[in-house]
């Protein structure tokens, strides 16, 4: 009698648990607030369309660290990371998704973009306007360590690409980046650490940062203390998203996960994206960001570096160009 009732109760509970679908989105650090809002909007829409309640769980951390957690068995249904290289690793190291994952969604699987800009102290005393101003004598530059921070790798490639486009010459780009890092006194391990060093510790004249982070910094720490300077040209940072096939199939959440990722491209999600300082893919949504987004020449990593795999190998792997800048080897 009691046992039967207990069994019934357990069954009822597990049925209730099934009715609530859950999705795990493993993301990187600065997207915390962005996805909180997107998740809520998606859950509302999903409930309206299907009558099913959905809970989306978020995990945030450094992009590379998050990818490694998924490789080691953190069962993410979807990943939304800072660079394609980290999602490539899910394929290369563990076969969690197919190699052509980036072709499955529009715009190389990146529903929003950003770029790399400068934050200077109010008044811009050193007259920083563009990349070549960063290597003027006496200018101190803050950027995190490209070896430990995905965001910093975009910064480095932005500097290199801008110099290469301006001079048309790879050797000069290398010389520029080498000189640039001589102006960097501290290599914080992550982007937020670099922001703290610049804003709280008062070190440096310029912080190289993602545009969305720069907006956030100006907003939270005071527009009367900092200015954002947009260079003439910079990199188009494309933080990609992807379905993790193996775990989504294991959880039976493929449909839901696909709908979630497609939702990111809808006008509703694109407006949220713009409000949080990322550049939306849909032009009209951009107006949702106060002040809009300044125009500049944007180049992609594929155009200048031949894709992430190649850029990583040439520049950031052990003994690569970044190491050579410090060890003097060539």
């Amino acid at each position: 009698m009691t046992l039967a009732r207990l069994t019934a109760a357990v069954l009822a509970l597990s049925a209730a648990a099934h009715a609530d679908a859950t999705l795990l989105n493993v993301s990187y650090d600065p997207t915390r607030e962005l996805y909180q809002e997107i998740d809520a909007a998606f859950a509302r829409q999903w409930l309206a369309n299907t009558g099913e309640k959905v809970t989306i769980q978020q995990s945030h951390g450094g992009s590379g660290k998050q990818a490694r957690a998924v490789i080691d068995g953190l069962e993410a249904d979807v990943v939304t990371l800072a660079l394609a290289y980290d999602i490539d690793a899910l394929h290369d190291r563990a076969g969690l998704l197919p190699e052509d994952w980036q072709a499955r969604l529009p715009q190389r699987s990146a529903p929003y973009t950003s770029t790399v800009v400068f934050v200077v102290r109010k008044g811009n005393a050193k007259g920083i306007r563009d990349w070549h101003d960063l290597i003027k004598p006496g200018v101190v530059v803050i950027t995190p360590n490209p070896k430990t921070s995905g965001g910093a790798r975009w910064n480095y490639l932005a500097a290199w690409g801008a110099a290469q486009l301006r001079t048309g010459n790879e050797d000069q780009a290398r010389a520029f980046v080498a000189e640039l890092f001589k102006h960097v006194p501290v290599l914080d391990s992550g982007a937020r650490g670099a922001t703290t060093t610049f804003a709280q510790r008062g070190i440096g004249d310029v912080l190289i940062a993602w545009e969305n982070e720069a907006f956030l910094l100006a907003e939270e720490l005071g527009k009367e203390r900092f200015e954002i300077v947009t260079p003439a040209s910079s990199i188009l940072a494309e933080p990609p998203v992807a379905l993790v096939d193996r775990f989504a199939d294991k959880h039976g959440t493929r449909k839901l996960a696909e709908a979630y990722l497609e939702f990111l491209y809808t006008p509703q999600a694109q407006e949220i994206v713009a409000r949080h300082g990322y550049r939306p893919r849909l032009e009209p949504a951009a107006a949702k960001h106060p002040g809009g987004f300044p125009k500049l020449t944007l180049f992609t990593i594929d155009e200048v570096f031949g894709g992430w795999r190649k850029a990583q190998k040439t520049h950031f792997d052990e003994g690569g160009v970044f190491d050579q800048l410090y060890t003097g080897a060539r």
Binding site: G64, R93, P185, L187, S189, I203, D317, E318
Partner: protein, 289 residues
């Protein structure tokens, strides 16, 4: 009588005087294996995927060598500072009574409890150019934050409780009557310190030093905030391991970890050996006397 003696000897040989040896020894081996040896074994195993040439290349680059040097000397310096000032602290906390003593005693444990990242951020805030102490230091050309000195400061911070907490119980046990006896017999204060207190404390001092040193070698969280992480200048070994992992270079990361593990183990073993010799010496002098 003789028969009884022999019986006792036989009994003790077979079983030992304390009961439960087999059970507790078995438990010790199992526990150490599960908690310590298993993960470390996995670490060594993973590094064996590399060929010798790859292993050697991974652990001997100029950045790795610079990092070993910094980690070793900064940890050594931190542990030495703690040895000197931690001893003074332990002495004061055990031998004197003063208002606020309980508070001071509790403060010693804080570096244990504080998340090391918090410690790192706090220390950086204090020693940075616009910090509370840093502004005076930098004005006089002394750079602590974002310099090797900052690494030493962070490692001193995390290692302090190890020296103090190791010394305290032994100091409490040290009978002041011995010092009084020495004084009555005509020994001056320095002589009491050198001939009575120091020999009794030597093994404990070594243990405290070893713990503080070992803790410093492995420290990551607090150092990365204050050191500035500049290649060849302020990169510590744990940061290098982290960097390799970020490149999905698990082999390279474990190779460096294995080198560090072997180094730490050899050092700890050496320090313990010195401690054992030190502990044996007073016993021998008694026999001679």
């Amino acid at each position: 009588m003789k028969a009884a003696d022999a019986a006792v000897r036989r009994l003790t040989r077979r079983r030992g005087i304390l009961p439960g040896f087999r059970l507790t020894f078995g438990f010790t081996v199992l526990y150490l294996s599960l908690v310590v040896l298993l993960p470390l074994g996995a670490l060594v195993l993973r590094s064996t995927h590399l060929s010798w040439a790859q292993f050697a290349a991974a652990v001997s680059g100029p950045r790795a060598l610079a990092a070993y040097r910094l980690s070793f000397f900064a940890s050594l310096l931190g542990a030495l500072i703690n040895l000197v000032f931690g001893s003074v602290l332990a002495w004061v906390l055990t031998r004197y009574r003063f208002p606020g003593k309980a508070l001071a005693d509790a403060l010693v444990d804080l570096p244990f409890a504080l998340p090391t990242a918090v410690a790192g951020i706090a220390l950086t805030a204090v020693y940075a150019e616009n910090g509370f102490i840093g502004r005076y230091l930098v004005a006089n050309g002394v750079h602590v934050a974002f310099a090797p000195a900052g690494v030493v400061v962070a490692l001193t911070f995390v290692g302090l409780p190890f020296v103090v907490r190791t010394l305290q119980p032994v100091l409490l046990d040290l009978d002041p009557a011995m010092e009084e006896a020495a004084a009555v017999l005509g020994a001056g204060r320095l002589r009491v310190l050198a001939r009575v207190i120091a020999p009794a404390m030597l093994p404990t001092l070594l243990t405290g030093f070893a713990l503080s040193f070992a803790r410093a070698l492995g420290e990551y969280g607090s150092v990365v905030f204050i050191s500035g992480n500049m290649p060849l200048k302020t990169e510590i070994v744990p940061l290098l391991i982290f960097t390799r992992l970020e490149q999905y270079d698990v082999g390279g990361a474990t190779a460096i970890a294995v080198v560090m593990l072997a180094g730490s183990f050899a050092l700890l073993l050496g320090i313990h050996a010195i401690g054992m010799v030190g502990r044996r010496r007073p016993a021998r002098s008694q026999v001679v006397a």
